[in-house]
């Protein structure tokens, strides 16, 4: 089984984020780049499915990212992916969701796979629109928010999270799957994995290899960031030490009464 997992490279979610007032883009200097946390879950799912399928199954990670960030993908290789492909091109800068999904889909089309696993969300831009858009561009059935997946009759049986509970869904392959965080914690890279990753390939593709018909980058985007501002600040409130249950409860009750919430 051939599996491709998409991984976005994002600024460390725990670092403070700032936007450049001029370019209106995220300032990346001085902030470490990491694998989008959600995509680590997608990779974990890919590695589990590869192990269960056995044989000559492979996991390839794919990322659209600026060339200087490509080495960040070693971590995915250390976790167990077999190789990586990066789509890098200055012409992609400033792409919005629709341009990103279009460029990614065309690069993914050049890779052979039975299953494409995509993370549920990105930590930095969070539209969640990329998976559905990829499925449309590639003409794949699209099963989202998977918490469990099993091979059944040449296809997959997937248990997926829904807004109100869960569903069991069957899909033939090839298909696109997105993972929920309930799929399982991503594994740590072993020492052997880290050593082995040094020898694995990270191939680069550029726009020249894709021959796109439509523009990408800022020119191919359908949205335009106008303004940004910090949200209204929420100050630190009061702290009350409760000597016992009743006094703690009384403190809250009085506070709620004062705010007219009870």
């Amino acid at each position: 089984m051939k599996i491709v997992v998409t991984v976005k490279l994002v600024p460390d979610p725990n670092a403070e984020k700032r936007i450049d007032a001029q370019t209106k883009r995220l300032i990346r200097t001085g902030v470490e780049t990491v694998l989008n946390p959600y995509d680590e879950y997608a990779l974990e799912a890919g590695l589990q499915l590869k192990e269960r399928a056995g044989g000559d199954s492979r996991v390839t990670v794919f990322s659209m990212a600026p060339e200087p960030l490509r080495e960040t993908l070693r971590k995915a290789l250390a976790m167990g992916a077999d190789d990586a492909v990066v789509l890098s091109d200055p012409g992609l800068e400033g792409s919005d969701v629709s341009a990103t999904a279009y460029a990614m889909a065309n690069a993914l089309r050049k890779l052979e796979f039975d299953l494409l696993i995509v993370g549920g969300l990105t930590d930095d831009s969070s539209t969640g629109a990329v998976p559905g858009a990829l499925a449309e561009h590639l003409g794949l059935p699209c099963v989202t928010n998977a918490r469990k997946a099993d091979h059944v009759d040449g296809g997959l049986e997937v248990e997926r999270e829904t807004d109100g509970g869960y569903q069991t869904v069957r899909t033939p392959l090839p298909a696109l799957l997105t993972t929920a965080l309930t799929f399982g914690e991503p594994r740590y890279a072993s020492l052997k994995g880290i050593m082995g990753a040094k020898k694995k390939t990270i191939a680069t593709t550029t726009l020249g290899d894709l021959g796109l018909e439509l523009p990408v980058g800022a020119a191919g985007s359908k949205t335009e960031l106008r303004e940004f501002a910090p949200p209204p600040a929420r100050g630190k409130g009061q702290t009350v030490e409760a000597a016992d249950g009743p006094s703690g409860a009384q403190a809250i009750f009085a506070f709620l009464q004062e705010k007219k919430l009870v």
């Binding site: 403070e16 984020k17 969640g128 509970g165 899909t171 985007s221 949205t223 249950g245 703690g248 403190a251």
Partner: protein, 327 residues
């Protein structure tokens, strides 16, 4: 973009409050754009719900009372929405920012060659331009993003961002024709769980529990009675959902739901950034935590330092007594 189309999520004729919020906002936006306000209702029970939607200020309600919508994963919904959008003409499409709303939005974006703005909390129209306001980077920034002039634009809208305002003179109901396509991803089983009387995203009060509760029972014995006394719903941190103490759909935060209740009570929750982004917009935040130095101290209006097991039952009693005096 001239008209406005609302995607109505429904199940057996039942929908969430966000539907009525979007139907009301659609009217305002359609008037500003000089077009019609429409809604699309799909699946079993759609016709019944369309009748109910007539008391909102819509012009046309497109309906497909089609079981396939409930049998096949999303594909029929995307087809019907595309068809409705083509019938209506150039439009701004409002989709609830929920798990399934997001899935539909990404696919429709490609079908309609549209731009998309996600997690929108406000929309402004000036001339033929539509500008959407949405929090980004986990709420660290609030952005204004324009949908460039084009035939179709999509906004996924945060529940509770707009007020529901009934009114209108009864929209026309139009049936959508079924597509001849066959679909691949079939739903074998569809289970609703933890579906409390009140949807978490719409509850005026949320009482949420975390790892500090130590197991599933306190959610039943401590939080549920408090939530009930306050007329609210129970939620949870990821630690609690991951431990299997509550279903995942009660999880609040970056990878769970975003809630904006008037009152949020966090019980045994430390207040990690990923939790904070799902509840920071609540009106008032009260925390009960053993640890005065927990991160939640930094953004709660009141932190009571103490043992939740002792405080919560007493608080529930106080609230119930107060209610008793009133009634």
């Amino acid at each position: 973009m001239k008209h406005v189309i609302v995607f109505v999520e429904q199940r057996q004729g039942q929908t969430r409050k966000v539907t009525f919020e979007l139907a009301s906002e659609a009217r305002r936006l359609a008037d500003a754009l000089g077009g019609k306000a429409c809604a699309v209702v799909l699946g079993e029970g759609a016709s019944r719900l369309a009748e109910q939607l007539k008391s909102y200020p819509l012009d046309t309600i497109y309906v497909a009372e089609d079981r396939d919508v409930d049998t096949y994963l999303l594909d029929p919904s995307v087809d019907y929405l595309q068809l409705a959008a083509q019938n209506v003409g150039p439009a701004l499409i409002l989709i609830p920012n929920t798990l399934s709303g997001r899935d539909v939005a990404g696919r429709l974006m490609v079908r309609l060659n549209a731009g998309i703005v996600a997690d929108v909390v406000d929309v402004q129209v000036s001339g033929d331009e539509v500008v959407c306001v949405s929090p980004k980077l986990g709420g660290a920034l609030v952005t204004s993003c324009a949908l460039r002039p084009s035939e179709y634009g999509i906004a996924t809208v945060r529940p509770s961002a707009f007020a529901a305002a009934p009114g209108g003179s009864g929209a026309e109901v139009v049936a959508l024709e079924k597509s001849a396509k066959s679909y691949a991803a079939t739903i074998q089983r569809d289970v609703e769980e933890g579906a409390s009387e009140l949807a978490l995203e719409e509850a005026p009060v949320v009482v949420a529990g975390g790892r500090g509760l130590g197991g599933p029972e306190p959610f039943e014995t401590l939080l549920t009675p408090l939530a009930r006394a306050l007329g609210g719903a129970v939620g949870a941190s990821r630690a609690a959902a991951d431990a299997g103490w509550v279903p995942y759909n009660l999880q609040i935060g970056q990878t769970g739901k975003t809630v904006t209740p008037k009152l949020y009570i966090a019980v045994g929750i430390s207040g990690a950034i990923q939790h904070k982004v799902g509840m920071r917009a609540a009106g008032t935040i009260v925390a009960i935590n053993k640890d005065a130095a927990a991160p939640i101290a930094e953004f709660s209006d009141l932190l009571v330092v103490g043992d939740a097991f002792r405080i919560v039952p007493e608080l529930t009693k106080l609230i119930e007594t107060a209610k008793g005096h009133l009634s």
